[in-house]
Symmetry: C2
Subunit: 335 residues, 2 copies
DNA sequence: CTGAAAGCGCTTACAG
DNA sequence: CTGAAAGCGCTTACAG
């Protein structure tokens, strides 16, 4: 029962102790190359018994791989986006570790490429995931110019770039349509930061739904860049003055602020104004009344990003063919 | 102007082209070992010109280092904790990359050690940072049993373990004292998840402040595990029925819910009830009225964690001696 | 089926 | 001050 330092074996030790060559040991482990059934089992057994784990760094050097991938996160994201990034991260980590890859995070600041360049110069990763595509981001252009494989999370117009995205446009269109069908006459839209692509997608969905049903959209029904309580309150005030009877919020944070503002003005939901959100959260679900909103499977989004990337890097992965989807959850706030 | 593949040099190439040995090149780069001024400059110049960057993985193998550190994040953290983790992450990444280290994230799920064991077995990191110490966490015990250096973010009673923490107890004590001095007669405490150490620290601060001023604390003034709107609303209701004239919330999320609940009941802040939070956020700052709260420098907390860890790993770092601190920001909600 | 050898791109005693 | 050589712990043609 002494606290003896457990010896950490190398492939050399194993070869010596077993009286075989390290080539053989390597083959038994990797499963590549021909090897006798008997020897393989002997090696595997020894490994199991002594809990040998190959040195990934050495393996990487020999194979010119790093077994790392990078997740590029914006440094400046707003509170409203936390749940999104956290879920992405979780999905990515899960599939990465399933392939014995690790994920290195790098927080990148707007158009400052230095962190990306550092990662690239140091050759510590085999591929990168760029989260939250900002319109006209330099990062994308830069990554394209490198040989490094990468996928972006978010909408992407460049057909040469691999991406995954939630169906924001479709979801927005569907929820808008539903609200119009339910009898909302004038539906205000409270949007987020206009430089984010997701804002644009949701906006388009809203427009298309109006077009489809032959409804007019007036400039003054659209309130963009609702990033704090003050902006939201102003928007709500103006919308009410204009007699809007429905408010569609682009995400849960905006929606929370919107609800707060309505409550302050003692405007009943849904009897005077129906409210819905294009991104769900617990606080909307548990609100009184519960708020209608769209649920995405963001963990899965992250997983798909990682799978796509691993595939580009030549890993074998059973990429899910089933497309990402969403659910519109109708709750009391739109009844 | 062709898109020629830029050759990626190795130390061997440089040695050959310069007619020196690779030992010399290595020395010129690392600055270790004696080397002639002239040769050093020749090498450095060549490197600069051809933008040579040493292969970190190879360097690592030779030095038995990985130049990675791991950040262990709980998989299940609540919305309320996002800003905290994000700021930590940012601080850690900043100092890590300053030392040419990268940070690998791993999301660990309660008492499931498998992810930690994987990291350890793969030897992909030189040290770990365990964020959010949960009371009696297995992770800590496990890490202690490994040789791997690690530091924890959060309070820590074990004197053998290195940790960094915000001064939650002190801050809680100070803010509580201030509220009592300002004339609050009965101060309710709305606390978070009781299994987190931070909850305990803040609770203690609240108690100590009462003791110091000779005030009694009644069981029924304490409301723990206020993790959703329902629980908070109940707590607020009960507190009001008991005639409390002050409410101290443990964090910004709890406080937001508390404010919402008060607003619904049309209880004016601060005239009927004074409200304060032990963790600040924009939404509290911009609330109407603005909410008194405590500001911590969490980015710096992350930095210090990383610095402490790097030091344990033998890196040279000018560790900041200045202790972490906090500011109590008195706003309208406690006037 | 198995192994000796070279190689991945660095570092570092050791000798000169 | 400089270099030849061994080594970090793996993989992988190549030969047998």
């Amino acid at each position: 029962m002494e606290t003896e330092e457990k010896k950490v074996y190398t492939i050399d030790d194993i070869a010596r102790e077993l009286g075989v060559s390290k080539t053989t040991v390597s083959r038994a482990i990797s499963g590549k190359g021909r090897i006798g059934q008997a020897t393989r089992e002997r090696v595997l057994e020894f490994i199991e018994k002594h809990d040998y784990r190959p040195n990934v760094m050495a393996k990487g050097l020999a194979q010119k791989k790093t077994f790392n991938l990078a997740l590029l996160l914006p440094k400046d994201y707003a509170v409203t986006e936390f749940p999104f990034f956290k879920d992405c991260m979780q999905g990515i980590c899960e599939v990465a570790s399933g392939h014995d890859y690790d994920v290195i995070i790098s927080m990148i600041d707007g158009d400052d490429l230095s962190q990306i360049q550092r990662l690239e110069a140091n050759r510590k990763v085999d591929g990168m995931i760029l989260s939250r595509a900002v319109e006209h981001s330099m990062a994308q252009d830069y990554l394209k110019s490198c040989k490094e494989p990468f996928v972006v999370i978010g909408p992407e117009e460049d057909p040469q770039i691999t991406y995954v995205d939630n169906k924001n446009l479709e979801a927005s269109k569907e929820l808008t349509s539903i609200m119009l069908m339910k009898g909302v006459q004038k539906l205000a839209l409270l949007g987020g930061n206009q430089s984010f692509s997701v804002t644009e997608s949701r906006y388009k969905g809203y427009l298309q739904a109006h077009k489809k049903t032959g409804r007019l959209v007036n400039e003054d029904m659209i309130f963009m860049n609702c990033e704090n309580q003050t902006k939201v309150s102003e928007a709500v005030k103006q919308a009410l003055e204009q007699g809007e009877d429905g408010i569609l919020c682009m995400d849960d944070a905006i929606c929370s602020m919107c609800i707060g503002s309505l409550r302050e003005r003692k405007i009943p939901i849904p009897s005077q104004v129906r409210v819905a959100s294009l991104y769900d959260s617990k606080s909307l679900e548990y609100n009184n009344p519960p708020i209608t909103s769209v649920k995405f499977d963001t963990v899965r989004l992250g997983k798909m990003a990682a799978e796509k990337l691993l595939k580009m890097m030549g890993e074998e992965t059973e990429e899910e063919t089933q497309p990402l989807n969403y659910q519109v959850v109708l709750r009391e706030s739109t009844q």
